[in-house]
Subunit: 331 residues, 2 copies
């Protein structure tokens, strides 16, 4: 069950181990010798050991990715973007879900570091910040997604959405539909959600409309459907004249939408509905969304790893509103 090594090939081809290495790496070798080596390698079904190679390079060529939860459309597209450029660069991707579980986040970042990943892309929370800083300082480029860090050292990048604009776009669209009283569901007091709420306030302010604190439900970060339902119910109970419900996280789109319908509300007649992140069925369902260029963001994140600029890049992307039926004109 022992694997054939470069030494076996060398013996079979009657050359030194160094010559085999040269042939395999395309260095100058007499053609006849090279052919002999290649034949031997093929005959012995030799498969080079990438692990050993990485030991020399000091690091592997794999890109590490830590995702909260792949089920979210944003993260899924992000992942595909990463995979695209990784594949184009002959890099593999090492992946793990963290489910926003702090213990898991810390453990997996450590694991990735031990694997000597070429770079690391994380969508996790602050629990990994210190470690990621150290990694970047130590020469492993890291990209934080959907968050920015204070005083990032060179090699520590971030890729995020212009959340304030996203919020403002939502507010302006709502106002333009003749709706004024709105409710908001946010997933945790994290930077992206805070930014979107700020944008919402700015957009509404232009029209002197107000967003009361009791019209905003900031859920915990990892809430399940029944809790979202409860939050929607409370919001509606507390604000009976609500004309639009805004969901600030793509992860809760389904839950919020369902809660609205189950309460017997018609969209958009009884209430307008607006959410983040486009998804496959959104068009058929006529749901108005603000999207992020998630696929592109994944690509850019991966490029930062591959190109490894010795600065700290803070990339911000612009959102886009796709207007569909769910938040149409009132009356």
């Amino acid at each position: 069950m022992k694997r054939t090594t470069i030494g076996d090939v060398a013996a079979a081809a009657n050359v030194s181990i160094a010559t085999v290495s040269r042939v395999l790496n395309g260095l100058a070798v007499k053609e006849v010798t090279a052919t002999r080596v290649r034949d031997a390698a093929a005959r012995l079904e030799y498969t080079p050991n990438a692990l050993t190679k990485s030991i020399f390079a000091g690091r592997s060529s794999t890109i590490g990715v830590l995702i909260d939860d792949l089920r979210s459309p944003f993260y899924l597209d992000l992942m595909r973007g990463i995979d695209d450029v990784a594949a184009a660069n002959g890099s593999l991707v090492m992946f793990s879900n963290t489910f926003r579980h702090t213990g898991r986040e810390v453990a997996q970042v450590q694991a990735m570091d031990e694997q000597r990943v070429r770079g690391l892309i994380v969508t996790s929370g602050a629990s990994v910040d210190e470690r990621v800083r150290r990694m970047a300082a130590g020469g492993t480029p890291c990209v934080v997604v959907a968050r920015t860090l204070q005083d990032p050292p060179p090699g520590l990048h971030s890729v995020s959405l212009d959340n304030v604009t996203a919020g403002r776009m939502m507010a302006e669209h709502i106002l333009s539909c003749g709706r004024r009283t709105i409710g908001v569901i946010a997933s945790g007091a994290v930077p992206s959600q805070i930014g979107r709420i700020e944008g919402l306030r700015k957009g509404l302010g232009k029209d002197n409309a107000l967003l009361n604190d009791d019209a905003i439900a900031i859920l915990d970060d990892d809430v399940t459907t029944p809790e979202v339902t409860d939050a929607v119910t409370s919001l509606l109970d507390a604000n009976p004249s609500m004309e639009a419900m805004v969901c600030l996280s793509g992860r809760y789109t389904l839950a919020v939408h369902t809660a609205l319908i189950d309460r017997g509300l018609s969209i958009p007649e009884d209430i307008g509905f607006l959410t983040m992140d486009d998804f496959a069925w959104a068009q058929n369902l006529g749901i108005t969304v603000v999207t992020q260029p998630s696929h592109q963001m994944g690509q850019e994140a991966a490029k930062l790893i591959v190109e490894n600029p010795r600065v700290s890049a803070q990339l911000t992307f612009e959102p886009e509103l796709i207007s569909r039926a769910s938040c149409g004109e009132l009356r």
Copy 2:
């Protein structure tokens, strides 16, 4: 920029490199010495190099996964199942999309082999069969998903759905709704699709209903939405009295559903609609589906890698029909 090594720790703790190794691996060392070593390691922020460790073990502890396309709900859940047991076992997952592109499949399997993955899970086509066989024979357990191989050597496993039963369930449900003339969209002449069609025939046969060949569209494996639309159109044109449209691949659910709606057909009044694989919005949309226990299948696949039984396991899972509105009683 040089990483601290076990040697640095040894020097700092004034012990030999072997002693450090022992402490780090929990072998017998005098407690005072051990503490000194651990302190030094912490102080120097020592992070062991998993690559070098793997070199000794002969292979890494990473599980390789090759997926056609993560956007498909089945594959996404499968992936989550794999990730679950990997995380529980302290394994990382190395992942790559292949998009059913033969060149990419072959290249990535090779890459995974070079990475000396602990085992490989593939959802790809026959292009990788030979290589996967060799890997299994060479001691790297492999699991093929949604397909079975001829005479698998020990270590080469498969995880798949009982496709014939899935097809039969669909047929029986359709008949029980008083529908008889059906159309079928399949994604390629691959074993899973063939099996489902066979099941459909068997189920319909019980009632002497027939499934004509011109009511089945077998698309290419990697078709885009417009092509699906065309297929649906042709099917409908050729069979004007069609009472139910069956989609045999979760990847095409959206495209087929949209094509039906865009043609002005009401579901289920004008035509019943039935598809494979449950997905988040299916309930809200009232779409009847036959599901696979995809998450569990992922877990079992990963377990086969982790436990590595020295036989060839062929795991088959039973489908389940979730009846919703899209294929209700006729009239």
